[in-house]
């Protein structure tokens, strides 16, 4: 058997927004030993009681296929879409980043924030909170740049993702 390499996939899951549905999805991943690198969930269609879960996971192609099949057979799941293979898609994450410091470091932090299009959404004489959105690696990079400049706290939303162009994940598939 040829050694199979682990690859990262972003999977969107449309589910009924009912109690326990997130626990079902998380339990599936932990119970079967799959990775969760990022997971976001929130109601996206209020009237229809639909929530959208975006999960970034890693595994061999066989494991990724399993994950999709396992998700699909959960009763409250409407549809599952592997954005990594279904065509071009966009991924974004939002982070709130607190940096504490004075003097030159503070100026440097502001300058870098500008380069990353991070917005200042809170400021005191000794701290900033930046809001930055982008792909995961952009945020990772911004955070690592802030480390020597007084990084004190990070809150991240996890990845939200959607396919480009017309069509996408729908509840009647």
């Amino acid at each position: 058997m040829k050694p199979e390499i682990s690859e990262s996939h972003t999977i969107s899951v449309l589910v009924d927004n009912e109690p326990g549905v997130l626990a079902r999805v998380i339990g599936l991943f932990s119970g079967r030993g799959y990775n969760i690198d990022s997971l976001t969930v929130t109601e996206t269609e209020h009237e229809a009681h639909l929530s959208r879960i975006t999960v970034v996971t890693a595994g061999t192609p066989m494991v990724i296929e399993q994950i999709k099949a396992q998700l699909e057979r959960l009763v409250p799941v409407h549809s599952v879409m592997d954005l990594t293979v279904s065509g071009p898609s966009i991924e974004r994450e939002l982070a709130l980043i607190k940096v504490e410091g004075k003097g030159e470091k503070r100026v440097e932090a502001l300058r870098l924030a500008d380069a990353f299009r991070a917005r200042v959404i809170d400021a005191t004489t000794e701290s900033f909170v930046f809001e930055v959105t982008g792909r995961t690696n952009k945020i990772d990079q911004f955070i690592s740049l802030m480390k020597p400049l007084g990084l004190s706290e990070v809150a991240r939303t996890g990845v939200a993702a959607i396919s480009r162009g017309v069509g996408g994940l729908s509840s009647d598939s």
Partner: protein, 584 residues
Amino acid sequence: MAREMTGAEMVIKALVDQGVTDIFGYPGGAVLPIYDELCQQEDLTHVLVRHEQGAVHAAEGYARSTGKVGVVLVTSGPGATNAVTGLTDALMDSIPIVCITGQVPTHLIGNDAFQECDTVGITRPCTKHNYLVKDVEDLGRVLHEAFYVASNGRPGPVVVDIPKDVQFATGTYAATPQVRHKTYRPKIKGDQPAIREAVEALASAKKPIIYSGGGIINSGPSASRLLRDLVRITGYPITSTLMGLGAYPASGDNWMGMLGMHGTYEANMAMHDCDVMLCIGARFDDRITGRLDAFAPHAKKIHVDIDASSINKNVHVDIPIIGDCAHVLEDMVRIWKARSAQPDKKALEAWWAQIAEWRKKDSLGYEKNDDIIMPQYAIERLYELTKDRDVYISTEVGQHQMWAAQHFHFQEPNRWMTSGGLGTMGYGLPAAVGIQKAHPDALVIDIAGEASVLMTMQEMSTAVQYRLPIKIFILNNEYMGMVRQWQQLLHGNRISQSYMESLPDFVKLAEAYGAVGFRVDKPGDLDDAIKEMIEVDQPVIFDCRVHKLANCYPMIPSGKAHNEMLLGDGVEAEEVSDAGKVLV
């Protein structure tokens, strides 16, 4: 027709509307309103078990022997937690069960109330789906949906947790036994081009094999009939998993016996050497495949399963077909008949000749003994003396289970009830209770081990109460034989905690329950005793004293390949690698 009624009434009404006639349960504070309704009606019969695990196993036996959904009713807290083993068993073996659990009233949920447990949390990983019903207006719909989910697609257990205040509350009930579910709609028909490709692959095979499983049984009697058709028109050899026994008759010409860890030499060798494999309604479980990287290395593999997640899980297959076994088989038979090209007759003859060679090993053979009852002999006699009757067999878990699978020959589906996936000791006795409830006039035998049967022995009391004349046929070797066998093979013959000391006197135990006891320890007495047992119209415990140290062969030790079977005693422990030893 919509009607106002209480939640408790709705439970009864929904069950009756679903065609349920028998339920298995145990009362308690959180289900008293339902029990109160139960005693005021006559459509549903309730079997009072002695432990909630027994209720689920009984419902499993009932379900597997009838094709219906098994129904369980238990209370909150300990009632629900006691049911967990049964639910897990049903999940692993794809048995349709609806289990209704009582729950503390909604305003107390989360307060650590008396007999509260997080039933939906605990049962989430051991059910196909579960519900906590907090509004009586949802109850009717949820109950019908539970039956739909339990029985459609790959069957499984479903829990409906109903707080006590919801049972008392009044709401509208609409009889909607037909559910069109908004999300759960399993694919029944297989993809036609894939089926065509599969038939072509089968037709061009030189060393074909059909390997079928419990999915055929779940799919219903027509699937077994179509499987037989396919085997007949192709002339191909067929083997089956433990769960699939009876789908193809053991007396059939093309039958090779069971495959897997304790399967026959010919079945496993043919699996290893085949060039085209049709796996239908089975799931490449580790008991079947042995060492994965040596599993059927030259075969083009076709896999038919209703559950897409079973496909490419353990073994990569070449032609996956998602669909119900009966539907796919129907297509296969039709397409096969319509094509004109014939399979390579010469190659097939050579293949059958090879199989005949393997068969000569007589891998199920054992040393006969005139003084001590060999366990295999006991099963053989049990089979010979019951085969012309309407007989259903359940088992516990261990060597006796494997000997039953090897030496009791099943001719029809739904006749063989065993805990395959979970391997639950204590399954067989309560399962027999459920089977006998469904088939009052049949001969129902639990082929048991003395260790396993003690785990749920209390259900003898249930059998006696409901006059269910089940026969508990214990192959008593005074050992957890299967554990001892592994200790002998893999742990330097150090017998650790697998000797069964202080066993009860099973004859007296039977009598204490108000049942009938038998004890036999001489081969010469066996036939008469079995005949007598059959004639007893009461529950029986039959203490069949067998050879204490007999081991179950053939065997593929963990981590070994199909062509590395052990055919008998006398192997060195070193032969199994450390990688193999870590496997269960």
